[in-house]
Protein backbone atom coordinates (compact mmCIF):
# COMPACT_ATOMS: atom_id res chain seq x y z
CA UNK A 1 0.00 0.00 0.00
CA UNK A 2 2.57 2.52 1.16
CA UNK A 3 5.05 1.41 -1.52
CA UNK A 4 2.56 2.03 -4.29
CA UNK A 5 1.46 5.38 -2.87
CA UNK A 6 4.99 6.75 -2.76
CA UNK A 7 6.44 4.80 -5.65
CA UNK A 8 8.17 6.46 -8.54
CA UNK A 9 6.06 6.30 -11.67
CA UNK A 10 2.52 6.63 -12.95
CA UNK A 11 0.80 4.90 -10.01
CA UNK A 12 2.80 6.45 -7.21
CA UNK A 13 3.29 10.01 -6.05
CA UNK A 14 7.00 9.76 -5.28
CA UNK A 15 8.08 11.54 -8.43
CA UNK A 16 5.47 14.30 -8.08
CA UNK A 17 6.53 14.98 -4.50
CA UNK A 18 10.17 14.97 -5.53
CA UNK A 19 9.42 17.49 -8.29
CA UNK A 20 7.75 19.60 -5.60
CA UNK A 21 10.82 19.36 -3.38
CA UNK A 22 12.91 20.53 -6.33
CA UNK A 23 10.72 23.63 -6.77
CA UNK A 24 10.86 24.31 -3.02
CA UNK A 25 14.66 24.08 -2.99
CA UNK A 26 15.03 26.18 -6.13
CA UNK A 27 12.77 28.82 -4.66
CA UNK A 28 14.74 28.98 -1.41
CA UNK A 29 18.07 28.95 -3.25
CA UNK A 30 16.95 31.72 -5.61
CA UNK A 31 15.66 33.84 -2.72
CA UNK A 32 18.81 33.61 -0.59
CA UNK A 33 21.18 35.77 -2.71
CA UNK A 34 18.49 38.35 -3.51
CA UNK A 35 17.47 38.59 0.14
CA UNK A 36 21.06 38.78 1.33
CA UNK A 37 21.93 41.56 -1.08
CA UNK A 38 18.87 43.55 -0.10
CA UNK A 39 19.64 42.80 3.56
CA UNK A 40 23.10 44.32 3.16
CA UNK A 41 21.59 47.45 1.64
CA UNK A 42 19.07 47.79 4.48
CA UNK A 43 21.74 47.09 7.11
CA UNK A 44 23.98 49.73 5.52
CA UNK A 45 21.09 52.20 5.69
CA UNK A 46 20.43 51.33 9.34
CA UNK A 47 24.10 51.91 10.23
CA UNK A 48 24.43 55.04 8.12
CA UNK A 49 25.50 58.36 9.56
CA UNK A 50 22.57 60.06 7.85
CA UNK A 51 19.42 60.20 9.98
CA UNK A 52 17.15 59.95 6.92
CA UNK A 53 18.75 56.68 5.80
CA UNK A 54 18.72 55.32 9.34
CA UNK A 55 15.02 56.10 9.65
CA UNK A 56 14.34 54.38 6.33
CA UNK A 57 16.25 51.29 7.40
CA UNK A 58 14.44 51.21 10.71
CA UNK A 59 11.08 51.70 8.99
CA UNK A 60 11.73 48.91 6.52
CA UNK A 61 12.76 46.32 9.09
CA UNK A 62 9.95 47.29 11.47
CA UNK A 63 7.18 47.15 8.88
CA UNK A 64 8.42 44.00 7.15
CA UNK A 65 9.00 42.13 10.39
CA UNK A 66 5.62 43.19 11.75
CA UNK A 67 3.58 41.95 8.82
CA UNK A 68 2.52 38.33 8.32
CA UNK A 69 4.60 36.76 5.53
CA UNK A 70 1.45 35.65 3.76
CA UNK A 71 0.20 39.24 3.63
CA UNK A 72 3.50 40.36 2.07
CA UNK A 73 3.17 37.55 -0.44
CA UNK A 74 -0.34 38.60 -1.44
CA UNK A 75 0.63 42.25 -1.67
CA UNK A 76 3.57 41.41 -3.94
CA UNK A 77 1.73 38.85 -6.06
CA UNK A 78 -1.47 40.80 -6.55
CA UNK A 79 0.27 44.16 -6.63
CA UNK A 80 2.75 43.10 -9.30
CA UNK A 81 -0.05 41.37 -11.19
CA UNK A 82 -2.22 44.50 -11.19
CA UNK A 83 0.75 46.67 -12.11
CA UNK A 84 1.82 44.39 -14.94
CA UNK A 85 -1.69 44.28 -16.39
CA UNK A 86 -2.02 48.03 -16.17
CA UNK A 87 1.26 48.42 -18.06
CA UNK A 88 0.18 45.88 -20.67
CA UNK A 89 -3.20 47.59 -21.12
CA UNK A 90 -1.32 50.76 -21.80
CA UNK A 91 1.39 49.51 -24.13
CA UNK A 92 0.19 46.22 -25.60
CA UNK A 93 -3.57 45.87 -25.18
CA UNK A 94 -3.72 42.98 -27.66
CA UNK A 95 -2.10 40.59 -25.14
CA UNK A 96 -4.97 40.77 -22.67
CA UNK A 97 -4.85 39.81 -19.01
CA UNK A 98 -1.80 37.87 -17.80
CA UNK A 99 -0.71 36.48 -14.47
CA UNK A 100 2.52 37.61 -12.91
CA UNK A 101 4.85 34.57 -12.85
CA UNK A 102 4.30 33.04 -9.38
CA UNK A 103 7.91 31.87 -9.04
CA UNK A 104 9.22 35.41 -9.49
CA UNK A 105 6.54 36.78 -7.16
CA UNK A 106 7.51 34.16 -4.59
CA UNK A 107 11.20 35.04 -4.83
CA UNK A 108 10.49 38.77 -4.53
CA UNK A 109 8.13 38.43 -1.57
CA UNK A 110 10.33 35.97 0.32
CA UNK A 111 13.42 38.07 -0.41
CA UNK A 112 11.72 41.22 0.92
CA UNK A 113 10.92 39.42 4.18
CA UNK A 114 14.31 37.72 4.38
CA UNK A 115 16.09 41.04 3.84
CA UNK A 116 14.36 42.66 6.81
CA UNK A 117 15.48 39.92 9.19
CA UNK A 118 18.91 39.59 7.56
CA UNK A 119 19.49 43.32 7.95
CA UNK A 120 19.04 42.98 11.71
CA UNK A 121 21.40 40.01 11.87
CA UNK A 122 24.02 41.85 9.80
CA UNK A 123 23.68 45.01 11.85
CA UNK A 124 24.24 43.00 15.01
CA UNK A 125 27.23 41.23 13.44
CA UNK A 126 28.87 44.50 12.42
CA UNK A 127 28.39 45.87 15.90
CA UNK A 128 29.84 42.68 17.40
CA UNK A 129 33.29 43.44 15.99
CA UNK A 130 35.23 44.62 19.08
CA UNK A 131 35.86 48.34 19.04
CA UNK A 132 39.51 47.84 19.97
CA UNK A 133 40.16 46.13 16.66
CA UNK A 134 38.71 49.06 14.76
CA UNK A 135 40.76 51.51 16.81
CA UNK A 136 43.87 49.38 16.31
CA UNK A 137 43.28 49.47 12.58
CA UNK A 138 42.88 53.23 12.59
CA UNK A 139 45.94 53.59 14.84
CA UNK A 140 48.21 51.88 12.33
CA UNK A 141 46.94 54.29 9.72
CA UNK A 142 44.20 52.38 7.93
CA UNK A 143 41.46 54.43 6.35
CA UNK A 144 37.84 53.84 7.34
CA UNK A 145 37.38 51.90 4.13
CA UNK A 146 40.36 49.66 4.82
CA UNK A 147 39.09 48.98 8.32
CA UNK A 148 35.78 47.94 6.80
CA UNK A 149 37.24 45.62 4.15
CA UNK A 150 40.09 44.12 6.15
CA UNK A 151 38.79 43.97 9.72
CA UNK A 152 35.02 44.19 9.84
CA UNK A 153 33.89 42.30 6.75
CA UNK A 154 36.08 39.17 7.20
CA UNK A 155 34.66 38.68 10.68
CA UNK A 156 31.11 39.36 9.66
CA UNK A 157 30.60 35.82 8.41
CA UNK A 158 31.49 34.36 11.78
CA UNK A 159 29.21 36.66 13.78
CA UNK A 160 26.31 36.50 11.36
CA UNK A 161 26.31 32.77 10.71
CA UNK A 162 24.14 31.57 13.62
CA UNK A 163 21.46 34.18 12.85
CA UNK A 164 21.67 33.54 9.12
CA UNK A 165 21.29 29.82 9.74
CA UNK A 166 18.01 30.43 11.53
CA UNK A 167 16.84 32.68 8.73
CA UNK A 168 17.65 30.01 6.16
CA UNK A 169 15.52 27.49 8.08
CA UNK A 170 12.69 30.03 8.29
CA UNK A 171 13.04 30.66 4.57
CA UNK A 172 12.81 26.94 3.78
CA UNK A 173 9.61 26.74 5.79
CA UNK A 174 8.17 29.98 4.44
CA UNK A 175 8.42 28.63 0.89
CA UNK A 176 5.37 26.51 1.77
CA UNK A 177 3.34 29.72 1.58
CA UNK A 178 3.85 30.09 -2.15
CA UNK A 179 1.66 27.02 -2.68
CA UNK A 180 -1.30 29.35 -2.16
CA UNK A 181 -0.30 31.45 -5.19
CA UNK A 182 -0.32 28.54 -7.60
CA UNK A 183 3.31 27.50 -7.54
CA UNK A 184 3.93 23.76 -7.74
CA UNK A 185 6.13 23.37 -4.70
CA UNK A 186 6.15 20.43 -2.30
CA UNK A 187 3.07 21.69 -0.49
CA UNK A 188 1.01 21.94 -3.65
CA UNK A 189 2.22 18.62 -5.01
CA UNK A 190 1.04 17.11 -1.74
CA UNK A 191 -2.31 18.79 -2.13
CA UNK A 192 -2.73 17.32 -5.62
CA UNK A 193 -1.82 13.87 -4.34
CA UNK A 194 -4.35 14.25 -1.52
CA UNK A 195 -7.03 15.26 -3.99
CA UNK A 196 -6.60 12.04 -5.95
CA UNK A 197 -5.78 9.49 -3.27
CA UNK A 198 -8.10 10.85 -0.52
CA UNK A 199 -5.37 10.12 2.01
CA UNK A 200 -4.73 13.58 3.48
CA UNK A 201 -3.05 12.47 6.69
CA UNK A 202 -0.60 10.12 4.98
CA UNK A 203 0.49 12.69 2.45
CA UNK A 204 0.63 15.76 4.68
CA UNK A 205 2.62 13.71 7.16
CA UNK A 206 4.96 12.74 4.34
CA UNK A 207 5.30 16.41 3.37
CA UNK A 208 6.03 17.34 7.00
CA UNK A 209 8.67 14.64 7.21
CA UNK A 210 10.30 15.85 3.99
CA UNK A 211 10.43 19.44 5.29
CA UNK A 212 11.78 18.12 8.58
CA UNK A 213 14.46 16.21 6.70
CA UNK A 214 15.43 19.33 4.74
CA UNK A 215 15.70 21.34 7.96
CA UNK A 216 17.71 18.67 9.78
CA UNK A 217 20.04 18.39 6.79
CA UNK A 218 20.48 22.16 6.75
CA UNK A 219 21.19 22.17 10.47
CA UNK A 220 23.91 19.59 9.95
CA UNK A 221 25.57 21.71 7.29
CA UNK A 222 25.20 24.84 9.42
CA UNK A 223 26.88 23.22 12.42
CA UNK A 224 29.80 22.28 10.17
CA UNK A 225 29.99 25.79 8.74
CA UNK A 226 29.94 27.29 12.21
CA UNK A 227 32.67 24.97 13.42
CA UNK A 228 34.74 25.96 10.39
CA UNK A 229 34.05 29.67 10.82
CA UNK A 230 35.19 29.53 14.43
CA UNK A 231 38.25 27.38 13.85
CA UNK A 232 40.72 30.16 14.62
CA UNK A 233 38.90 31.47 17.67
CA UNK A 234 40.27 30.85 21.12
CA UNK A 235 37.73 29.26 23.37
CA UNK A 236 37.23 30.33 26.93
Amino acid sequence: MMETLFSYGPQGWGDELLAGVWVTLRLAAATLPVGLLLGFVVAAASLSRRPVLRAMGWGYTTVMRGMPEILTLFIVYNGLGLGLNRLLDHFAPQIGAVDFPPFAAGVIALALVFAAFAAEVLRGAFQAVPEGQVLAGLAIGMTGRQVFWRIKLPQLWRFALPGMGNLWLNLLKDTALVSVIALDDLMRATKVAVGVTKQPFTFYLAACLIYWGLCLGSELVLTRLEARANRGVRRA
Binding site: M67, P68, I70, I75, A176, Y204, A207, C208, W212, C215
Partner: protein
Protein backbone atom coordinates in the same frame (compact mmCIF):
# COMPACT_ATOMS: atom_id res chain seq x y z
CA UNK B 1 -12.83 55.48 -4.17
CA UNK B 2 -11.28 57.78 -1.62
CA UNK B 3 -9.35 56.49 1.33
CA UNK B 4 -12.02 57.61 3.79
CA UNK B 5 -14.77 55.89 1.85
CA UNK B 6 -12.72 52.74 1.46
CA UNK B 7 -11.91 52.68 5.16
CA UNK B 8 -15.46 53.27 6.28
CA UNK B 9 -16.74 50.34 4.23
CA UNK B 10 -13.86 47.98 5.02
CA UNK B 11 -13.01 48.85 8.59
CA UNK B 12 -15.94 47.12 10.36
CA UNK B 13 -15.13 43.85 8.59
CA UNK B 14 -11.41 44.22 9.17
CA UNK B 15 -11.93 44.96 12.84
CA UNK B 16 -14.15 41.93 13.11
CA UNK B 17 -11.33 39.91 11.55
CA UNK B 18 -8.78 41.52 13.85
CA UNK B 19 -10.85 40.35 16.80
CA UNK B 20 -10.66 36.77 15.53
CA UNK B 21 -6.91 37.18 15.04
CA UNK B 22 -6.55 38.33 18.64
CA UNK B 23 -8.69 35.46 19.94
CA UNK B 24 -6.74 32.91 17.88
CA UNK B 25 -3.41 34.28 19.08
CA UNK B 26 -4.51 34.75 22.68
CA UNK B 27 -6.00 31.28 22.98
CA UNK B 28 -3.03 29.65 21.29
CA UNK B 29 -0.42 31.46 23.37
CA UNK B 30 -2.30 31.12 26.67
CA UNK B 31 -3.03 27.41 26.33
CA UNK B 32 0.56 26.78 25.29
CA UNK B 33 1.70 28.72 28.35
CA UNK B 34 -0.26 26.30 30.54
CA UNK B 35 1.80 23.33 29.33
CA UNK B 36 5.20 24.88 28.69
CA UNK B 37 6.49 25.18 32.30
CA UNK B 38 5.89 21.48 32.99
CA UNK B 39 7.37 20.46 29.66
CA UNK B 40 10.42 22.67 30.22
CA UNK B 41 11.03 20.90 33.53
CA UNK B 42 10.70 17.49 31.89
CA UNK B 43 13.00 18.64 29.09
CA UNK B 44 15.62 19.50 31.70
CA UNK B 45 15.17 17.04 34.55
CA UNK B 46 12.82 14.34 33.27
CA UNK B 47 13.62 10.69 32.53
CA UNK B 48 15.68 10.14 29.38
CA UNK B 49 12.89 8.65 27.21
CA UNK B 50 10.63 11.61 28.01
CA UNK B 51 13.46 14.00 27.21
CA UNK B 52 14.10 12.32 23.86
CA UNK B 53 10.40 12.42 23.02
CA UNK B 54 10.21 16.13 23.85
CA UNK B 55 13.30 16.87 21.81
CA UNK B 56 11.80 15.05 18.83
CA UNK B 57 8.52 16.97 19.25
CA UNK B 58 10.27 20.32 19.45
CA UNK B 59 12.53 19.51 16.51
CA UNK B 60 9.55 18.41 14.41
CA UNK B 61 7.56 21.55 15.16
CA UNK B 62 10.54 23.78 14.43
CA UNK B 63 11.51 21.87 11.31
CA UNK B 64 8.16 21.89 9.51
CA UNK B 65 6.14 24.77 8.06
CA UNK B 66 3.18 25.82 10.18
CA UNK B 67 1.03 25.60 7.06
CA UNK B 68 1.92 21.92 6.67
CA UNK B 69 1.10 21.30 10.33
CA UNK B 70 -2.22 23.05 9.89
CA UNK B 71 -3.10 20.99 6.80
CA UNK B 72 -1.99 17.81 8.58
CA UNK B 73 -4.48 18.44 11.38
CA UNK B 74 -7.34 20.06 9.46
CA UNK B 75 -7.38 17.96 6.28
CA UNK B 76 -5.53 14.98 7.76
CA UNK B 77 -8.19 14.43 10.41
CA UNK B 78 -10.58 13.58 7.58
CA UNK B 79 -8.71 10.33 7.02
CA UNK B 80 -9.78 9.21 10.50
CA UNK B 81 -13.31 10.46 10.27
CA UNK B 82 -14.90 7.16 11.37
CA UNK B 83 -12.60 6.80 14.36
CA UNK B 84 -12.97 10.45 15.36
CA UNK B 85 -16.75 10.27 15.05
CA UNK B 86 -16.65 7.21 17.29
CA UNK B 87 -14.71 9.18 19.88
CA UNK B 88 -17.09 12.13 19.52
CA UNK B 89 -14.23 14.33 18.35
CA UNK B 90 -15.22 14.75 14.71
CA UNK B 91 -17.26 17.90 15.30
CA UNK B 92 -14.15 19.43 16.89
CA UNK B 93 -11.89 18.66 13.94
CA UNK B 94 -14.45 19.72 11.33
CA UNK B 95 -14.25 23.32 12.52
CA UNK B 96 -11.23 25.11 11.01
CA UNK B 97 -11.09 27.51 13.96
CA UNK B 98 -10.59 24.64 16.43
CA UNK B 99 -7.94 23.06 14.23
CA UNK B 100 -6.12 26.37 13.94
CA UNK B 101 -6.14 26.86 17.71
CA UNK B 102 -4.97 23.29 18.27
CA UNK B 103 -2.08 23.68 15.83
CA UNK B 104 -1.10 27.05 17.32
CA UNK B 105 -1.05 25.54 20.81
CA UNK B 106 1.10 22.59 19.66
CA UNK B 107 3.38 24.96 17.77
CA UNK B 108 3.73 27.71 20.35
CA UNK B 109 4.14 25.19 23.16
CA UNK B 110 7.27 23.82 21.51
CA UNK B 111 8.81 27.27 21.15
CA UNK B 112 7.77 28.41 24.62
CA UNK B 113 9.20 25.25 26.16
CA UNK B 114 12.57 25.92 24.54
CA UNK B 115 12.52 29.57 25.61
CA UNK B 116 11.60 28.66 29.16
CA UNK B 117 14.26 25.96 29.26
CA UNK B 118 16.82 28.62 28.41
CA UNK B 119 15.40 30.83 31.15
CA UNK B 120 15.58 28.09 33.77
CA UNK B 121 19.15 27.25 32.77
CA UNK B 122 20.10 30.90 33.11
CA UNK B 123 19.03 31.14 36.77
CA UNK B 124 22.29 31.53 38.74
CA UNK B 125 23.07 28.33 40.69
CA UNK B 126 23.88 30.38 43.75
CA UNK B 127 20.25 31.42 44.11
CA UNK B 128 19.11 27.81 44.07
CA UNK B 129 21.81 26.75 46.55
CA UNK B 130 20.85 29.61 48.86
CA UNK B 131 17.19 28.61 48.71
CA UNK B 132 18.04 25.01 49.51
CA UNK B 133 20.41 26.08 52.26
CA UNK B 134 17.64 27.87 54.12
CA UNK B 135 15.62 24.66 53.96
CA UNK B 136 13.19 25.19 51.09
CA UNK B 137 11.72 22.05 49.58
CA UNK B 138 12.25 21.31 45.90
CA UNK B 139 8.73 22.44 45.00
CA UNK B 140 9.17 25.65 46.93
CA UNK B 141 12.50 26.39 45.26
CA UNK B 142 10.78 25.98 41.92
CA UNK B 143 7.83 28.16 42.80
CA UNK B 144 9.66 30.93 44.61
CA UNK B 145 13.13 31.06 43.10
CA UNK B 146 13.53 29.25 39.80
CA UNK B 147 10.31 30.06 37.94
CA UNK B 148 10.01 33.71 38.97
CA UNK B 149 13.55 34.35 37.82
CA UNK B 150 13.30 32.14 34.73
CA UNK B 151 10.19 33.99 33.56
CA UNK B 152 11.89 37.31 34.10
CA UNK B 153 14.81 36.19 31.95
CA UNK B 154 12.56 34.63 29.31
CA UNK B 155 10.05 37.48 29.19
CA UNK B 156 11.34 39.36 26.13
CA UNK B 157 11.79 36.13 24.16
CA UNK B 158 8.28 35.01 25.12
CA UNK B 159 6.96 38.32 23.84
CA UNK B 160 8.71 37.74 20.52
CA UNK B 161 7.14 34.31 20.33
CA UNK B 162 3.66 35.75 20.86
CA UNK B 163 4.27 38.26 18.06
CA UNK B 164 5.47 35.48 15.76
CA UNK B 165 2.35 33.49 16.63
CA UNK B 166 0.16 36.52 15.90
CA UNK B 167 1.74 36.84 12.47
CA UNK B 168 1.52 33.11 11.87
CA UNK B 169 -2.16 33.12 12.82
CA UNK B 170 -2.78 34.73 9.40
CA UNK B 171 -2.33 31.24 7.97
CA UNK B 172 -5.66 30.26 9.53
CA UNK B 173 -7.24 32.23 6.69
CA UNK B 174 -6.04 29.53 4.28
CA UNK B 175 -8.27 26.96 5.99
CA UNK B 176 -11.17 29.46 5.73
CA UNK B 177 -11.03 31.08 9.16
CA UNK B 178 -12.15 34.69 8.82
CA UNK B 179 -9.41 36.34 10.80
CA UNK B 180 -7.92 39.69 9.76
CA UNK B 181 -6.14 38.07 6.81
CA UNK B 182 -9.26 36.10 5.86
CA UNK B 183 -11.43 39.24 5.82
CA UNK B 184 -8.77 41.05 3.82
CA UNK B 185 -8.66 38.35 1.16
CA UNK B 186 -12.45 38.26 1.07
CA UNK B 187 -12.70 42.00 0.50
CA UNK B 188 -9.97 41.91 -2.15
CA UNK B 189 -11.52 39.02 -4.05
CA UNK B 190 -14.85 40.88 -4.20
CA UNK B 191 -13.71 44.40 -4.97
CA UNK B 192 -10.12 44.06 -6.29
CA UNK B 193 -9.46 47.03 -4.08
CA UNK B 194 -5.73 46.90 -3.49
CA UNK B 195 -5.66 49.40 -0.64
CA UNK B 196 -7.36 46.86 1.65
CA UNK B 197 -4.01 45.05 1.90
CA UNK B 198 -2.37 48.18 3.25
CA UNK B 199 -5.21 48.71 5.69
CA UNK B 200 -4.68 45.15 6.92
CA UNK B 201 -0.92 45.71 7.15
CA UNK B 202 -1.53 48.83 9.22
CA UNK B 203 -3.82 46.90 11.56
CA UNK B 204 -1.27 44.10 12.01
CA UNK B 205 1.40 46.68 12.77
CA UNK B 206 -0.90 48.44 15.20
CA UNK B 207 -1.56 45.18 17.04
CA UNK B 208 2.20 44.51 17.22
CA UNK B 209 3.01 48.01 18.47
CA UNK B 210 0.33 47.93 21.17
CA UNK B 211 1.39 44.44 22.22
CA UNK B 212 5.07 45.40 22.44
CA UNK B 213 4.13 48.40 24.57
CA UNK B 214 2.00 46.34 26.97
CA UNK B 215 4.60 43.58 27.18
CA UNK B 216 7.29 46.16 28.07
CA UNK B 217 5.07 47.61 30.79
CA UNK B 218 4.76 44.15 32.34
CA UNK B 219 8.51 43.64 31.98
CA UNK B 220 9.11 46.92 33.78
CA UNK B 221 6.93 45.69 36.58
CA UNK B 222 8.67 42.30 36.73
CA UNK B 223 12.06 43.96 37.00
CA UNK B 224 11.08 46.89 39.20
CA UNK B 225 13.35 45.73 42.01
CA UNK B 226 16.34 45.76 39.68
CA UNK B 227 16.06 49.35 38.55
CA UNK B 228 18.42 51.77 40.17
CA UNK B 229 16.72 54.34 42.28
CA UNK B 230 17.20 57.91 41.16
CA UNK B 231 20.33 59.62 42.34
CA UNK B 232 22.30 56.56 43.28
Amino acid sequence: MSLIESLSTNLPKLLDGAETTLILTGLGAALAAVFSPGLALIRLFGPTPAKMLLRAYISFVRGTPLLAQLFLVFYGSGQFRAELTGLGLWSFFRDPFNCAVLVFVINSCAYQTEILRGGIEAVPPGEIEAARAIGMTRARVLARVIFPHAYRIAWPALGNEVILLMKASALASIVTVFDLMGRTRQIFSRSFEFSVYFEAAALYLLITVVFVFLWRQIERRLTRHMRRTQGS
